[in-house]
């Protein structure tokens, strides 16, 4: 058994879901995503037992492209994140009715397939294919099942699609250039390259453009808020929970080791960009009227911090980044789900039209509050572990980075609590708010359990990712 099993399960799942018909689709999708989760857990066990779970097969001989899936700790951690979030996301959508559900759930599974592939691929071109493949389902999900005015939605989604596609074209160029140098797309061969500083600079920049748009880092974020707002919540969860992490993961896996000299030389600029994103995102989030948009900007702030940590090129920075990625993945899915739960009852995302929910639905309030607190990195949640590590690594580079990045804990608290106050507290709302259903409660409970458990005991994840991060650092520091 190797990692391709997960991919196969997800791909078969996607088709099976499509052919199972609208009524069964959601359940079949859930089943397959759970199977993928189970499979990845088994693989994790095998990996921990020292078994080789990677695959390398020759695919195209000329040019030399291999079907290479390499699972190290980092990749596995991200795969687990995907595998864990996908069932939650699918399950969370059970309260909604979708037209043409078979296509909808099929696309979700297909997207999970592509994203898992991105996390596993260790051949440049294969990686690129998965990377772009992941874009297609979310495009359709956002376009067809999104909300709001169809014309505006189309505009936002097409912008997102073209923007990210354009960004990744630069990455493709970089890969082709690297291929001409190395004669192979395999990551090991690419790692061995010794490029001049000039070449590295351009490669670094090309990768950066692709990832900065995907992550997004300011000023490349303009697609984000609109798409998050327009996409159906499931799409938003997929985007913010997993797809953003594709960009961040790729920074660690591809960008930094392939252009280490450039990374070292320009790291301050990119850390500064990331931190600018933190402050900017937090400040913009303060005055958002739309709940999903607010969460989108908070996401911008958080990933800015993660990106900044990645560019520190220290073990702490990378480790913090990965921890925070996972934590953020869970918390942001939870928060968007909360927005969806409110939407199901109030049919609005406008914060001004909410309020007084706490008086009617204490259970939901508690869950939402925990998620809000996790999002602002209250100690004892997983996010704190990540954020502490991240900020610590930044403080090792320059204390000002930590101070400026740390404003997220102030501004974050400000906008999140302000949002919480206006959404949940206050006089009882005239509109009735039914308490969470069992299904919704389960989704929340799973997310909260994960956040709290790893908040106190992050060691399993740390142990999993540390060796592979050390390998990456070795590549970075080989000269």
């Amino acid at each position: 058994m190797n990692v391709s099993t997960i991919l196969i399960i997800l791909l078969i799942g996607a088709f099976a879901t499509y052919f199972s018909g609208d009524k069964l689709a959601s359940k079949v999708a859930l089943l397959f995503s759970l199977a993928a989760l189970g499979c990845s857990i088994v693989l994790l066990n095998n990996y921990n037992a020292g078994e080789n779970i990677s695959v390398i097969n020759s695919w195209i001989t000329q040019p030399k492209i291999s079907f290479a899936l390499n699972a190290d700790g980092l990749g596995l951690a991200m795969v687990l994140l995907t595998a864990a979030l996908t069932p939650i996301i699918i399950f969370s959508s059970f309260g909604n009715e979708y037209k043409n559900a078979k296509a909808f759930y099929g696309l979700i599974l297909f997207m999970a397939f592509a994203m898992t592939g991105t996390f596993l691929a260790s051949d440049g071109l294969l990686y690129y294919i998965f990377w772009e493949l992941a874009l297609v389902p979310i495009y359709f999900i956002a376009l067809i099942w999104g909300n709001g005015d169809a014309e505006e939605r189309r505009k936002a989604v097409v912008k997102f699609f073209i923007y990210t596609l354009a960004g990744s074209l630069f990455m493709l160029t970089a890969f082709i250039y690297l291929y001409t140098k190395a004669g192979s797309f395999l990551i090991e061969d690419l790692y061995k390259l010794n490029l001049s500083a000039f070449e590295q600079f351009w490669i670094f920049l090309a990768f950066f453009l692709a990832y900065a748009i995907k992550i997004p880092i300011i000023p490349f974020h303009t697609w984000q808020a609109n798409v998050y707002q327009k996409a159906p919540t499931v799409g938003t969860m997929l985007l913010s929970g997993i797809m953003l992490k594709m960009g961040l993961y790729s920074v660690l896996r591809w960008q930094l080791p392939l252009a280490p000299t450039a990374a070292k030389e320009y790291m301050y600029i990119f850390i500064a960009l990331g931190i600018a994103g933190v402050i900017y995102g937090s400040i913009v989030a303060l005055r958002q009227k739309d709940l999903k948009k607010l969460l989108a900007y908070s996401s911008l702030a958080h990933v800015g911090l993660i990106a900044a940590a990645s560019y520190t090129l220290t073990l702490d920075g990378l480790r913090g980044a990965v921890l925070q990625m996972i934590a953020h993945g869970f918390v942001v899915v939870g928060l968007f789900f909360a927005a969806e739960v409110i939407f199901r009852r109030y049919e609005t995302r406008n914060i001004a039209e909410m309020g007084g929910i706490r008086a009617q639905s204490p259970k939901f309030t508690s869950m939402f509050l925990i998620l809000v607190l996790a999002s602002v990195a209250l100690p004892s949640t997983f996010n704190f572990v990540g954020e502490f590590t991240v900020l610590y690594s930044l403080s090792q580079i320059n204390i000002w980075f930590a101070i400026l990045g740390g404003t997220t804990i102030i501004l974050g608290a400000y906008y999140m609590l302000r949002m919480f106050q206006h959404v949940m507290l206050g006089e009882t709302n005239s509109k009735a708010f039914a308490d969470v259903t069992l299904n919704e409660g389960i989704s929340f409970a799973v997310i909260i359990a994960v956040l709290l458990f790893f908040g106190f005991y992050p060691k399993p994840i740390t142990d999993l990712i540390t060796p592979s991060l050390e390998t990456i650092l070795q590549v970075i520091n080989k000269n």
Binding site: Y392, I410, L411, G426, K459
Partner: protein, 627 residues
Amino acid sequence: MDTNLALILVLTPLLGFLVNVFFGKSLGKTASGAIGTVAVAISFVVSLLLFNQITSTGKGIQVTLFDWIQISNLKINLGFLLDQLSVLWLLFVTGIGSLIHLYSISYMHDDENMHKFFAYLNLFVFFMITLVIGSNLLVLFIGWEGVGLCSYLLIGFWHKNQDYNDAAKKAFIMNRIGDLGLLIGMFIIGSMFSTLDYATLKTAITGATNLNLPLLSLAALCLFIGACGKSAQIPLYTWLPDAMAGPTPVSALIHAATMVTAGIFMVTRLNFVFDLAHDVQNVIAIIGAITSLVAATIGLVQTDIKKVLAYSTVSQLGLMFLALGFGAYEVAVFHVITHAFFKACLFLGSGSVIHGLHGEQDMRNMGGLRKAMPITFWTMLISSLAISGVPFFSGFFSKDEILLTAFHHSIPLYVVGSVASIMTAFYMFRLMFLTFFKEFRGTEEQKHHLHESGSLITIPLIILAILATFGGLISLPGNSWLNHYLAPLFTKVAGEEHHLGTTEYTLMGVAVLGGLLGILIAYIKYFKQDNFPESDENITGLSKVLYNKYYVDEVYDAVFVQPINSLSKFFRDYIETGLSALVFGLGKVTNEIAFQGKRLQSGSIGLYLFVFVLGMCAIISYIFLAQ
């Protein structure tokens, strides 16, 4: 055994929290209150056991549970340190906590969400215990932020009122500003010494030869900013008066007795760091003195009974920091303890008054309650005497120690502290006179319902009043049990005890006279002359400035909050749209080029052919003629 004890200590309140959260509603009000109280009481008993053990062995207990966060040069355990300081703190946290829980059973009985109230209180105690017994700074930080969270939850307990929610939010955010300072301080210390563990840190610092003192001072300053946030010092004090929006037991427990002293606990805990940073110590002393004075002046004119107490708390905390600034940690700790007794008593007393008046908090509408509420009156009187520094009550000893220390280090700060003390005496007795003497000024209906509160409320009051009276005995001048008890914590030769000489007696006399003077002025003004505070519109001049708290909230709002909000608006309306337009601009340019190109495609075949011929000519010429 120790591990189990520690776990029982910590987890019982957590268990109480969980039970109350999940089953509180079905259990009923009394049961949930009882569960909450018992949970804290068990912790108190455990604390007593631990105290017993510590006093007999004299050694701290270190408990390590498991690895928590791994950072390359730091390994942070989730562990507990039970030594003299933490156990002392535990005693009054759980002790007063139990009393206040008991009090709350009656006080909150009319509230529909009583089980939640107890859940939050229990959660608070859990986090407070974590804060106190954490073996390293990061575990302290769990508690530190956790108590901030509970404070947020409890200030906004009546969540339907958005003003209360604003107050809660404000408290949380101001605390977070301090928390950032604390985090940065931790980062500096962590990178300097590769540890956040108190014990290791202490050996590292005391053993180190060439320390980077400026950096260490910076760390100390950052830590102090954290303490400022939690313990409501200038410039981060404005949340505490607003926090009075919460139910009165909360004000007593969190915003008077325990949470706000966390800053003092942290500074005391890290005394070895602060001892090396003299500049920072001076800053602490000055800020403490200024805070005590500013808060006291504001307290002079407040009319809300809880606001008076809140500013008095800020002022007293300022005094404690004054002591900390001089390195007199044991003195500060002493005042923390006595203050916890009398201020909790005062708050609970005011709660009793408010309870009796069905929510009335304005002193202008009180008066003459002495007869209706004798127990409340007497206990509050005792506490007021204690806080005013009347001899032989507990406050007298602790405050006197602080002023004595200040006198030895800096005369100006001593003067500031003394003036603040005189003011304290004045406004406390102003409160007493306005509330309990003269005729009742409220409505007839309130008058009709006036009654002494029930025994669940009065018993904690009586116990606290007794403690407020005799609490000073633990550190009598010249023969201080507390100093000996705490001695192992401090690097300095502990207890450079003030030998009671002429100076000391003179100072004591001055302090007593000052206190009596304050009481006298209050007596003349509010008892003899029959003054009572004007209604809001008629307040003029300096008192208006004071009544409006020096307009600090307004200034903060104008200087920090509004700019950030308008910046946010600006970003949202201009930068965001601008950036978006930039990206769309690229698309538009492409579109425009395509549009122009489209016009080139006129559909006129003649033109196409013409261009085609021209192009062919060019190509042929290039191929055949260019060489």
